[in-house]
């Protein structure tokens, strides 16, 4: 018997009241805090439902405690991008409360309002104003309490740093904590609409952004000290009383069926509890994690199993996937003729007839994966018609609904307690592993923790889809663009079906197949004749869902590389060429800011093939408008013709996401996007045979290492001013990178790379 580490032993209760949860989970919540654990007495004491709190009540957003600390409650979650800190800054600013005395509780469904998933660079942009309004209403409520307390008009009061004073009488002050006196903030502040579109506290008076003192400061992130000091609990660290460990055994082929399971030898594993089989869903449960791993291995959960009957679980010999080198043809053929026009200007078809020069190119990008360093993990406790989950999902409120649907139990009996996971970068395995844990827990009647093995994550997490794009451009005799055509074939980027549901034979229990529809590109050029269209599709080959800047990373690669091809054909400077066809002032501003910071000298791409065999230098430029954020990136590369290796030495990013809440947090995110997108550009491609994904570990799916990082990443913030709203910065700076590198390689050695990843072998092949 092993000694279980009880992070939250007292939190295990199938029907906890919210108050009990908040008390019991204090040890978890307070990890984000500089203060000791405390009961959140101000929250609901009587309510026993697990439903989210009503958005129109102040207590749904804020609690003020007797020790003059406070808690912000938000349905948004942290995924490593720093939004917890940014949202806390917004709340502290409007509440006139010290930032370091404000805790943040995120995601837990019984404690927070559903503000929509934390994806798509939408957290600061949409949840920010909701929290801003709620906190402004909170400040007004506190001023009203103080007015009663001092028997004066609220106009005679001033709030600062969590205290309220009577103007001109410095000794008449009272803290927020004293005013609230441990009570719940029961004030009605009003709310309408749902999720991203929700309007909160419509009558609250938020501050004039030009007076901000907390927003705009590069404050240290709240989560970082705990992550460095090993005190921070990830969902992978959660341990529950009586908890068992589970592992899944996935089919050998993606849609293979389970023929037989031989439990011989599995039952003898010390600590083994049960093999769980439901249709094609197979899992094991054991007292210890090691026993679960051993049992799963016996059944066939290993790295690169040799065949469908390599383990003691035998699978049918399913080989329904297309061949890897034919995937883009498959993508093309799968498009059922749907053609969604993104831009239709003049007549491109006619204009091509008048071209003095026409260029055509096809761009291809492969399946790529999120590749979280920590495999997906969840804990489920399902008993009868009640269920509690511990999960790091980016969409806790949706996952709660999905689990109620999957298990067929009332939504009001389901709670998801959110705990941060290893970074996700989109919809990875985190939602799927919740379903795995649910099925295993339901089968054994005890709480079960499931963590995927590395091969489960690499093999089964939803991928970013392969995309093929045809472009055609026409120049007149003066080198002006007279026609532009860009057609994209894009499999679904939002397939939300759950793997476990399909395996138990209920593929449509939850979720939707989705499509590769717009917005996957923001077309912004002003060509007289343009035809930009998306052919969106459902699932092609593997399960696909959103991966950081879904599809727009790929479409930006094609659009911004192909315009470089036209600029080169016209013998023009790539920056000047773009500026000639752009009216969007924010796009022009980031391009000019990046060029200035870089020291851009006007010249066409050199594009000279150098046969000396010496390493060659090049510079590349590209930009994007993603979710109303403008980003321009310039990079220097050195290409070694003997090895085909691309080394990126310097990167300059000009970034306009409007008013910046936390400049250092933003820079951290931009640096991360640059490095991660560089990894996707240079290294990453999911491999597969006709049965399954074959890149099941970090050798099969290499990502960028320290040896490949640039010498510098310089960041210029553009339009960081109070008159601009705060747009989201989670994804946008991902987008230009592949085009930047492709363009820089062309400048260096005159070779145009139109297919990612740009591994040395591919570069060498392109050179010959």
């Amino acid at each position: 018997m092993i000694t279980l580490y009880n992070t939250m032993s007292s939190a295990v209760d199938l029907a906890p009241s919210r108050r009990r949860f908040l008390q019991a989970s204090g040890g978890l919540v307070i990890t984000f805090s500089l203060f000791g654990p405390k009961p959140v007495l101000a929250r609901d004491a009587a309510q026993t439902s697990l439903a989210p709190p009503p958005a129109g009540k102040l207590y749904a957003w804020l609690a003020v405690h007797p020790d003059n600390t406070a808690t912000l409650f938000t349905g948004k979650v942290e995924t490593g991008t720093g939004v917890q800190t940014a949202l806390a800054q917004i709340a502290a600013e409007e509440l006139d409360f010290p930032f370091d005395r404000l805790d943040v509780v995120m995601g837990t469904t019984s404690a927070t309002v559903d503000q929509g998933p934390s994806y798509g660079s939408m957290t600061v942009r949409y949840a920010g104003p909701q929290i801003r309004s709620a906190a402004a209403a909170g400040r007004e409520a506190l001023l009203n309490l103080a007015a009663e307390h001092f028997k004066v008009s609220p106009n005679e009061l001033v709030a600062k740093d969590g205290t309220i004073s009577v103007v001109g009488i410095p000794d008449r002050t009272v803290t927020y904590g004293k005013l609230v006196d441990g009570k719940r903030l029961d004030m009605e502040i009003g709310a309408s609409g749902k999720r991203f579109a929700m309007k909160v506290a419509p009558n609250a008076h938020a501050k004039d952004p030009s007076t901000y003192t907390i927003i705009g400061k590069p404050l240290p992130r709240k989560d970082i000290p705990g992550k460095i000091l090993a005190t921070f609990p990830y969902v992978q660290d959660v341990r529950i009383d009586g908890m068992l460990h589970g592992r899944v055994v996935r089919p050998y082929g993606v849609e293979a069926t389970l023929q037989s399971v031989d439990e011989n030898g599995v039952k003898n594993i010390p600590g083994f509890v049960q093999v769980v089989r439901r249709g094609n869903f197979l899992g094991v449960v054991a007292e210890t994690e090691w026993a679960a791993i051993q049992a799963a291995a016996k059944l066939g959960s290993t790295l690169n199993p040799s065949g469908p009957d390599a383990g003691q679980a035998k699978w049918s010999n399913w080989t329904g996937l297309p061949k890897m080198d034919e995937i883009w043809e498959t993508v093309r053929k799968t498009a059922a003729g749907r053609n969604i026009s993104v831009a239709s200007q003049g007549s491109a078809a006619l204009a091509f007839g008048y071209a003095s020069r026409t260029l055509k190119a096809t761009y291809k990008t492969p399946f790529q994966m999120h590749g979280s360093i920590g495999p997906s993990c969840a804990i489920a406790q399902v008993k009868g018609d009640r269920a509690t989950f511990w999960s790091g999902t980016q969409m806790p409120h949706e996952t709660r609904r999905d689990m109620a649907q999957l298990l067929g139990i009332p939504l009001d009996n389901v709670e998801l307690r959110w705990v941060e996971a290893s970074g996700g970068y989109g919809r990875n395995g985190l939602d799927h592993v919740v379903a795995d844990a649910a099925i295993l827990s339901q089968a054994v009647g005890r709480p079960v923790r499931v963590q995927w093995m590395r091969w489960d994550e690499h093999g089964w997490e939803p991928k970013g889809p392969p995309i093929v794009q045809d472009l055609q451009g026409a120049l007149d005799e003066n080198g002006r663009v007279i026609a532009w055509q860009h057609h994209m074939w894009i499999p679904t980027i939002d397939d939300t079906h759950l793997i476990a549901a399909a395996l138990i034979g209920r593929p449509d229990a939850t979720g939707d197949t989705g499509t590769g529809k717009v917005p996957v590109i923001t077309y912004a050029y002003t060509f007289e004749n343009a035809d930009v269209a998306v052919h969106d599709e459902g699932r092609v080959a593997l399960l696909t869902a959103w991966l950081r800047s879904p599809a727009q990373f790929e479409t930006t690669f094609a659009m911004e590389s192909f315009i470089d091809e036209l600029a080169a054909a016209a013998g023009q400077d790539p920056l000047a060429f773009r500026l000639a066809y752009l009216k969007d002032p924010r796009a022009v501003a980031v391009l000019k800011a990046a060029a200035e910071a870089y020291g851009w000298h006007t010249r066409p791409a050199r594009a000279k093939a150098d046969h000396s065999g010496k390493p060659a230098h090049g510079r590349g430029l590209a930009w994007v408008n993603r979710d109303d954020v403008r980003v321009a990136t310039i990079a220097d590369v050195t290409v070694d013709p003997s090895s085909g290796r691309i080394k990126v030495s310097r990167v300059v990013v000009a970034h306009d996401c409007g008013l910046v809440v936390n400049p250092d947090g933003l820079k951290n995110q931009i640096e991360g996007n640059v490095i991660q997108s560089l990894s996707r550009t240079l290294h990453e491609e999911v491999t597969f045979d006709t049965a399954h994904v074959t890149s099941q570990d970090w050798q099969g799916y290499p990502i960028l290492r320290f040896e490949d990082i640039p010498d510098s990443i310089d960041i210029v913030l553009v339009n960081n001013r109070p008159e601009y709203p705060s747009y989201g910065a989670g994804e946008p700076s991902t987008n230009p990178t592949a085009a930047v590198i492709s363009n820089a390689v062309f400048d260096a050695i005159g070779v145009r790379l139109r297919q990612t990843p740009f591994r040395p072998k591919r570069v060498k092949a392109a050179m010959t």
């Binding site: 460095i228 010390p270 920590g374 070694d640 570990d697 290492r705």
Partner: protein, 224 residues
Amino acid sequence: MKDAPDDWTHAKFTKRWQLERRKRLQRGLLDGLRQIIAPRQRSIAFYGVNINISGVIRGDPMPAQELVMSQKINLNVNGAGHAVEVEPDSMLLYALRNNLGLRGPKFGCGLAQCGACTVLMDGNAIRSCVTPVSAVGNAKVVTLEGLGTPEQPHPLQRAFIAEQAAQCGYCINGMIMAAKAFLDQNPHPSRDEIKQALNDNLCRCGTHMRIVRAVQRAAGSTQQ
């Protein structure tokens, strides 16, 4: 091309680097393993996968192993003795996380490929996900928890906080532990040497620039 001053050095560097990396794999990670595994044993097995000590990871399944019941095993972790009841063949990572309740070392790949599970064993950075408990013996194991405390963080921890060198932070345990073992051997490294030292630790968020700066900062602070 006169604007290419660094390229030859770069190319040479790259080549040397590749050799270095191979050597490091043997010297660092795998030497650590060699020390702890019976000298004649050429490979260790886990989850049906063989890790060859020469550094090649093969995927062929192992023949069924003998089942060993759990035993009480004494481990010296973060300066204190602990008796843990585990199977001797089970990996150190699970004993640290599940028996001792430590959060520093993380499960990342179980294949010694990513470094999230890194701990110090007698001062060497080793991958606890492929180190059997039976091989630890009397070695002194130090985890991230044992480096410093919230009240008295280790200089590396201070530096990582000062540089805000984390995003999701899941890899950071490995980064700090690998950097600790490295700086103990090479207290005044260049930026390139730091990059080499951390090259077998994976980060997915892209925090590399800050991680390197943090190690540089820590190296600077220990110089004083």
